[in-house]
Amino acid sequence: MVTKRIIPCLDVRNGRVVKGKNFEGLKDVSSPTELAAYYSDSGADELVFYDITASSEGRKLFTDVLRETASKVFIPLTVGGGINTTDDFERVLKCGADKVSVNSGAIANPMLIKAAAEKYGSQCVVISADIKRVDGVYRVFSKGGRINTGMEGIEWIKKCVDLGAGEVVVNSIDTDGVKKGFDLEMLKAVCAAVDVPVIASGGAGQINDFVSLFEECPDVDAGLAASVFHYGKIGIPELKKVLKENNIAVRL
């Protein structure tokens, strides 16, 4: 059985991790490489580096830390943030990324997905969608959740998969930051619509939220979270132990 994946997401600005707790044994809490190694040793199945830099100097710092991380941490690395062209794919893949996640870049130019999938393979192209209910309808938001594109969420994800996206990250703006659990309703709707792996994001507040996620949405492949891991609210070894006790397949 392929196991359910637990994926911490690190926000990186100018080559440094934006926020986080001082974990034991960690010399530099803002070092993406140190944190990545820490998470990998704790049992993270994959890591997401999200580049929130705006400047080109920051981009350079980002690829530097990505390269350093990929030379020391040997689990799959996904990179997102500022991916607008196939050159951006090339830039991060060369530095050791395994998958590249696109969001606003795909909204501005959906053919980016097709071009990247043809060049690098679908397994490399992840569509990340920020979705929020507006008058009871799932709407896709761009630019970090600020702009309502007016597109319907499930249709958009289906279109991206048809264009070649090999994995979907569903980030529910409605549950993000609330810490009351993942958006199970939205995730079920996405799982029913596509047959590629689906990664749940937004809403994890405690270990039981992951248990409910995989029990109630058995087609969800992975749970992604940031702050609950960074602030030490949830430790990955304990999370996996509880998942296993609940008969959810995990890598221990």
């Binding site: 392929v2 196991t3 990929a70 030379s71 040997f74 397994q123 492949d221 992975a222």
Partner: protein, 208 residues
């Protein structure tokens, strides 16, 4: 010293780094002369079988790899590189591989139930149907490794299957014939277990 064959398929940064990380000297090269001098070869690869097979052929590297295999040099194929060790693939038509392990590369979807997702992505456990192959000396049955693939290698001879994984059915996770072996999963992305497999390969002299 490990020689990783660079024939323009996929990104070799992690693979190169993983050998360096375990303290092994590694050279990434597409130069036929360098490859023909190699002590141990790694054939990587991601993407489509046809493109990769053509690139190997056009560069003349296919013949060098076969020659090295014949001389008993240990060879490890990874992911698509493992599939290329087999006779042929039905991916987008019928294409010939290197023929170093008997069998063919087939779509997973024909052997697993329709409920499972394609590609098979993620961490899955290894089983050793015929005991532990020397390359796996530092790991255990049940250890998890990272897979990403839509096709699998169907070995003609059962004894060539040295590891399997369960995804709807038993699929080949690793195969070997004498000094040639291949992993369907990515050891360079399989954490500590993966590094131990690479270490096992570095120490492997190949079977006679």
């Amino acid at each position: 010293m490990i020689t990783v064959i660079d024939y323009g398929v996929g990104n070799l940064f992690s693979l190169e780094s993983s050998f360096s990380y375990i303290g092994e000297k590694v050279k990434v090269t597409g130069d036929p002369e360098e490859i023909s001098k190699a002590e141990k070869l790694v054939l990587p690869g991601v993407g489509a079988f046809r493109d990769a097979a053509e690139k190997l052929k056009n560069s003349g590297i296919d013949e060098i790899v076969k020659e090295k295999a014949g001389k008993g040099v240990p060879i490890m194929g990874i992911c698509l590189g493992m599939q290329l060790l087999f006779d042929k693939s039905s991916e987008f038509g019928n294409y010939r591989g290197l023929g170093l392990i008997k069998g063919s590369v087939e779509p997973i979807k024909e052997v697993i139930g329709t409920k499972l997702k394609i590609p098979h992505i993620g961490w899955n456990a290894l089983k050793f149907p015929r005991g532990k192959h020397p390359v796996f000396r530092y790991i255990n049955e049940g250890d998890y490794v990272y897979f990403v693939h839509s096709y699998y290698a169907k070995a003609a001879k059962k004894e060539n299957v040295i590891a399997t994984t369960e995804y709807g059915t038993e699929i080949t996770a690793a195969a070997a014939d004498k000094n040639v072996m291949g992993c369907q999963f990515h050891p360079e992305k399989s954490g500590k277990v993966g590094l131990e497999i690479l270490k096992g390969f570095c120490e492997w002299e190949g079977e006679k």
